[in-house]
């Protein structure tokens, strides 16, 4: 990718407004309200917000599936309403329902050919992305027989088959168990390592915190917070020290030592392991690529 190309943001929203007409009287419902946002190329960007906050509508506008009522949306510098803007975009929809009558391999091949891949390149590329998402063993089964986790993975395969620069993942871990969710997080980090831009929405904020460089939080269609994850969750003026358990007298001594220096010991707590970490340790991340274990 050239320097000039990387200077262009992957996604740029300017004053985006989307109204829907509701009911016979055509009452306007504003789903996205004056949203301006830049998603720099090469980053993992989290789009957060409660249900109905306008995340999916924003994604549909980025993909050219909806036209904005006002404002603009550009993907790698091209208006999102142009078909050309979707050439470098891969999309995994929320709760993906793919053609149940196709096998996983047929499905990915179909989308590969739709995206313009042809000839001898198709079969190896299809096999490569299916292997990458860990579905090789189940590739020739009908999609209709796939579990939720497997559907998300085959969805990821179809989104990546044409090697897009921007990957949009709408709730990729929705309904997926912790093992499957961890596997998807790993795949997203691999995408980042490959230099791809990832736009992700998720209600799993722990996952977002672990994998995203930047996040934006929407509420009722409006942007209420945006910034780098480390800036938003870090508290530079405070520190936590983890030491072996201190006796009450040692603790009292520490308080006195800090007091002499004008500092206060604000909290003494026992560190707790996260439940998802315990789950993953016991169930094993190694099983995350087991095709049967995704959902």
């Amino acid at each position: 990718m050239s320097t000039v190309a990387s200077a262009v943001p992957a996604i740029e929203l300017r004053g985006l407004i989307k109204d829907f007409s509701v009911g016979l009287r055509g009452v306007k419902l504003r789903a996205v309200d004056d949203l301006s946002l830049r998603v720099p190329a090469g980053q993992v960007f989290g789009l957060l917000g409660p249900n109905g906050s306008g995340k999916s509508t924003t994604i549909k506008i980025i993909l050219g599936l909806l036209e904005p009522t006002a404002g603009g949306c550009r993907v790698f510098g091209l208006p999102s309403t142009q078909v050309e803007a979707r050439v470098d975009v891969g999309y995994l929809p929320e709760s993906p329902y793919f053609y149940r009558h196709l096998s996983g391999r047929e499905l990915v091949r179909f989308y590969a050919r739709i995206c313009g891949l042809g000839g001898a390149k198709v079969a190896p590329r299809v096999a490569e992305v299916i292997d990458w998402v860990g579905l090789t063993e189940a590739a020739d089964r009908l999609v209709g027989t796939y579990s939720k986790g497997m559907l998300q993975r085959i969805g990821l395969a179809q989104a990546l088959v044409h090697d897009p620069r921007l990957v949009i993942l709408d709730e990729p871990t929705s309904g997926v168990d912790p093992v499957g969710a961890a596997a998807i997080s790993e795949l997203i980090l691999q995408l980042k390592a490959q230099g791809k831009t990832v736009l992700i929405t998720s209600h799993l904020l722990t996952q977002i915190e672990e994998i995203c460089d930047r996040v934006a939080i929407l509420d009722r269609g409006r942007l209420i917070l945006e910034g780098a994850v480390c800036d938003l969750v870090g508290r530079a003026e405070r520190q936590a020290l983890i030491v072996e358990k201190l006796s009450p007298s040692e603790l009292q001594e520490l308080r006195g030592w800090l007091g002499l220096r004008g500092r206060t010991l604000e909290a003494v707590t026992a560190p707790r392991a996260r439940l998802d970490q315990i789950f993953l340790e016991r169930v094993g991340r190694g099983e995350a690529k087991n095709p049967e274990g995704g959902g």
Binding site: L63, E67, G116
Partner: protein, 278 residues
């Protein structure tokens, strides 16, 4: 970035996928049952043996079944295969790729047309076989009724099947037009049958009003005649069953007539679907 041009390859890929979906939904099992029913029904008329007119009766029955079940198949398959994409949100994934909406609509249309082609081909071949076999039996049993030899012409029987299919392609285009703006599958199916009735009966209204209706009624009937194709033009079964040769120039005119209506309906469907929010 280079321009993404309209691609016939993408249209054919979507059409192939639509046909595959129909076949894997056991749609063709229904066709097989229908075909077996036709053969069985024809066999039962062996009891009657009422000479050459029996062949006309069998031809009417066969082409009538093809028209009736073909229309039902076309309307329901068009609505179902279109709305399955919308309701299952597979259209979302597909249209998020560099795919023109016109390619999507034409792909769906050609997929349905392929389904109807399989149906008509199967039914026509079976009907020809049944008629040929029955005529051979009648020639043997009552040769006096066939002094000039065989009355049926295979080419004409095949042509009549082709014209039935042509009619279904027009019906599919009109059903797709309705689906392009309709919000529900049920509305599309009901409106599709309504269109079918208008297309079959509009000539009656035009004839009736031309002979004595008010000016307004004549203009209204003429307008309906312009908007909706006249499906009676596609009916060659009576002539074929009676052994009357089919005029090729008439077939050519009807083909052009059908193509014009298909182009207009598909064009409007693409235009209507262009801004539809998925």
């Amino acid at each position: 970035m280079s321009r993404v041009h309209f691609s016939l390859i993408r249209v054919l890929l979507i059409a192939r996928n639509t046909l595959l979906e129909a076949s894997r939904q056991k749609l063709f099992s229904f066709l097989l049952l229908l075909a077996l029913g036709l053969v069985g029904g024809a066999q039962s008329f062996r009891e009657f043996n009422f000479g050459a007119s029996e062949l006309k009766f069998l031809a009417d029955l066969g082409y009538g079944a093809m028209a009736f079940f073909g229309a039902a198949l076309t309307i329901t398959a068009t609505a179902q295969l279109f709305f399955s994409e919308i309701e299952n949100r597979t259209a979302l994934t597909l249209l998020a790729k560099p795919v023109w909406r016109a390619e999507f609509m034409l792909g769906k249309y050609l997929g349905v047309v392929a389904v109807t082609a399989v149906f008509c081909a199967l039914m026509t071949v079976l009907l020809v076989a049944v008629l040929w076999s029955r005529e051979s039996a009648l020639l043997r049993d009552i040769p006096d009724s066939f002094t000039q030899g065989r009355t049926l012409r295979i080419a004409d029987l095949l042509l009549a099947g082709y014209l039935q299919w042509l009619k279904l392609t027009v019906l599919a285009a009109f059903t797709l037009l309705v689906a392009s703006f309709s919000r529900t599958q049920l509305f599309t199916v009901v409106t599709g049958f309504f269109v079918l009735v208008i297309c079959h009966l509009q000539y009656l209204a035009r004839d009736a009003y031309a002979q004595g209706g008010s000016t307004f009624a004549q203009v209204a009937a003429g307008f309906v005649g312009l908007l909706f194709p006249n499906f009676q033009l596609f009916n060659f079964a009576d002539d074929v069953g009676a052994g009357i040769p089919v005029a090729w120039d008439r077939v050519a005119r009807v083909s052009v007539y059908a193509l014009g209506h298909v182009a207009a309906a598909c064009g409007l469907a693409v235009f209507s679907f262009r801004k539809r929010e998925i």
